[in-house]
Symmetry: C2
Subunit: 89 residues, 2 copies
Amino acid sequence: MTYIDFIGYTASFLIMIAFLPQAYQVWKTKSVEDVSLLTYTILMFGSTSWTTYGLLKDDWPIIITNVTLFVVQGSIIVCKLKYGKKTSH
Amino acid sequence: MTYIDFIGYTASFLIMIAFLPQAYQVWKTKSVEDVSLLTYTILMFGSTSWTTYGLLKDDWPIIITNVTLFVVQGSIIVCKLKYGKKTSH
């Protein structure tokens, strides 16, 4: 592994774990009013596109990061749709 | 531009615009309670690492995306710190 790969995997790891606190918070508090549904919807389209790009360039930090992101961001969307119905938002 | 580059730039564009609705929402509503400060802090470290990785690999979709993300995510953190003080969170 080169040092460039190491930076790539560090970057992947940071982005992969980044949405876990947000996912935990909306799951725990069931409060999703301030979370933007549009942001997470676009993010999921983005994760899908980045995964495709990574596959075509055989770039594993990109692939691993974006498959994980798709799952975590998806769980935030599920919480938003589930708990958001309790209010008028 | 190859079709792989095109997918990369599409992915970049989606991720770049993704946080704009969230930034607009917290700026407009001044309500930031449900937004995770830890998530956006980690995202900014991630953007910095990805930018470094992109520079070292001369990968412009990665560079452009992550410099933009740094700015937009930074603005969400500013709103969180500014408006979050109004409550006990």
